[in-house]
């Protein structure tokens, strides 16, 4: 359904947006295991709700807090000899953590992470986004507030050339972690 990790990242981060978060941090470590963490400071969930959102037949019809994305991510992590953890505190936020063994034959590709990030930045530029991509000892950090400040603020991404430039900036910096 969601064909690679970059689509999952977009989906899980959108959950955070829908939970009213104004800070969302995404971390991806690409070593022996892929470890994905998405942390938001949205309204969070109580224990019963947190347990039920990983059930594909659960839905909060009224506000659609979570779709089918979380159960699929959980299933994918478990299929890839990894683990899935969701912890949430009402009023504080939610943390989604999923790991995948790179030895697993079912490991999904990372996919187009820069396009997912750009989609989030364009859709929700008011949120304090942070993305960290780690490979062993090297890392790339995208701090949306710092980037906005460095470029003089304003509605930067309403210029399509600059929006695509930001995507290329992310692409280049992630690629360089692997060279």
């Amino acid at each position: 359904m969601l064909e690679d990790l970059s689509h999952h990242i977009l989906d899980i981060a959108e959950n955070g947006v829908n939970a009213g978060a104004d800070e969302i941090a995404i971390e991806l470590e690409d070593c022996e295991f892929i470890r994905l963490t998405v942390k938001d400071n949205g309204r969070g969930m109580d224990e019963a709700t947190a347990l039920s959102v990983v059930d594909p037949f659960y839905t909060t019809r009224t506000e659609r807090r979570v779709g089918l994305g979380l159960p699929f991510l959980k299933q994918l992590a478990e299929l890839c000899d990894g683990e899935f953890r969701l912890s949430s505190t009402p009023g504080k936020g939610t943390l989604v953590h999923a790991t995948f063994s790179k030895k697993s034959v079912d490991i999904p590709p990372l996919g187009d992470i820069p396009s997912s990030l750009l989609t989030l930045l364009i859709g929700h530029g008011e949120i304090h986004w942070r993305y960290v991509h780690r490979t062993g000892s090297r890392e790339f950090v995208l701090d949306w507030d710092e980037l906005k400040e460095a470029l003089g603020g304003g509605d930067l991404l309403s210029d399509p050339a600059l929006a695509m430039g930001v995507r290329e900036y992310i692409t280049t910096n992630i690629e360089e972690l692997y060279t």
């Binding site: 959108e14 304003g154 050339a161 900036y169």
Partner: protein, 128 residues
């Protein structure tokens, strides 16, 4: 010596792009802008909404359009019709396009966003 296209790597590279277009974007108020809204719920993402976003940006860049605000929205319960793309021209009703593909995006931008002609074959309905 061939000059390779330099990759955008640093914040300085981004600043240079910004300097090229200058402040022409901030000169327009939000009401004068055409809105393009893409459904980005789980259903939209699974159906290819992110690729629609990419196609929209590419088309706006190619046509050098700066008076378009691109937004995203969550699931609106028409999952079977995703990807959904809405266009709102200033002072005009909201128009919803369904099962949009990247080639449709080029048509919707040139026909509707630029010239104000609704692309009938991808139309869902008017929400006015």
């Amino acid at each position: 010596m061939t000059e390779e296209k330099k990759k955008i790597r640093s914040l300085d590279d981004l600043r240079k792009i910004k300097e090229k277009t200058g402040d022409l974007t901030s000169a327009r108020s939000e009401e004068d802008k055409t809105k393009v809204i893409i459904g980005m719920g789980t259903c939209g993402i699974a159906a290819g909404a992110r690729e629609i976003m990419n196609a929209v940006l590419k088309e706006l860049e190619v046509r050098n359009l700066h008076n378009v605000a691109v937004e995203t929205t969550g699931c609106i319960g028409m999952c079977q019709n995703e990807p959904l793309l809405d266009v709102i021209r200033p002072g005009e009703p909201r128009i919803t396009y369904i099962t949009v593909t990247p080639p449709d995006v080029a048509r919707i931008i040139s026909e509707h966003v630029v010239n104000g002609r609704i692309v009938q074959d991808k139309l869902y309905g008017r929400a006015d």
